[in-house]
């Protein structure tokens, strides 16, 4: 278990970042605000906003973090990297 961004910044739910790699259906981000799943906790649901989300928007527009009208895909394919890791005994 590394130190996740969400450990250090639990209240930051929107993060501007860069795609460093991509394949169909998946991207690798330079930095991620998402909890990846583990310890019995499900992975965060994620949404990505493109360039438009960074532009100043009129007051009537929903902010980039608004979920209205958006479907949230659940990223739950990844299971706990740390929950399954090893027994306390073998770690000694």
């Amino acid at each position: 278990m590394g130190r996740y961004f969400c450990h250090e910044h639990p209240d930051v739910l929107s993060l501007e970042t860069r795609v460093v790699d991509a394949r169909p259906g998946a991207v690798v981000l330079e930095q991620t605000p998402f909890y990846p799943g583990g310890g019995g906790q499900l992975a965060d649901a994620a949404r990505f906003a493109g360039m438009a989300a960074r532009s100043p928007s009129p007051a009537s527009s929903p902010p980039a973090t608004a979920a209205s009208g958006t479907s949230w895909p659940r990223r739950r394919s990844q299971r706990a990297p740390w929950w399954r890791w090893s027994s306390p005994r073998s770690a000694r």
Partner: protein, 158 residues
């Protein structure tokens, strides 16, 4: 691009995860330092925890519900520290799971979640800032799962 976490889902996971810590703290304290054998938070505001509790009375486990909600009302803060894995494994219960331990980070340290005044245990999840931010919890069901395991299902909301 901007990566956005669904706020409501994260909040519910943090609420449930805090609730499971309160539950396993009470089980640890009141049932001979019993350890956790499994846990799963669900997307329907419920969670289950499995404990190594071969001889426990299910009525006594059910009666933990009042204590859970009392601890929620006390609004205990949560804090995080990082300790060396060797130190964590040397103290019974700091790694609350019976069979697995979170791996340390690159610095050899593991994350400890403390509910101040109640409990400390290794965990990499997300939690509330303090317990009173949680809705009340109900104990929904208790099942015997084999000779050793007792499964407690909890749900958020009155």
């Amino acid at each position: 691009m901007v990566a956005v976490v669904e706020p409501a889902f994260r909040a519910m996971m943090a609420e449930l995860h805090t609730g499971t810590h309160i539950l396993n703290a009470l089980v640890f304290q009141q049932f001979d330092r019993a350890l956790v054998t499994g846990a799963q938070l669900n997307d329907d505001a419920t969670a289950r925890m499995d404990f190594d509790l071969p001889d426990a009375d299910n009525d006594k486990l059910r009666a933990l519900e009042a204590g859970l909600n009392d601890l929620i009302r006390q609004d205990l803060p949560l804090r995080y520290t990082y300790v060396p894995l060797v130190e964590a494994t040397a103290q019974h219960g700091l790694i609350r799971s019976r069979s697995v331990a979170p791996p340390p980070g690159d610095d050899g340290l593991i994350r400890i979640v403390e509910i101040v005044g109640l409990d400390r245990q290794a965990c990499g999840g997300t939690h509330l800032a303090s317990t009173a931010r949680s809705r009340p919890l109900r104990i929904l069901k208790i099942d015997n799962k084999g000779r050793h395991n007792r499964r407690i299902r909890i749900g958020l909301g009155g």
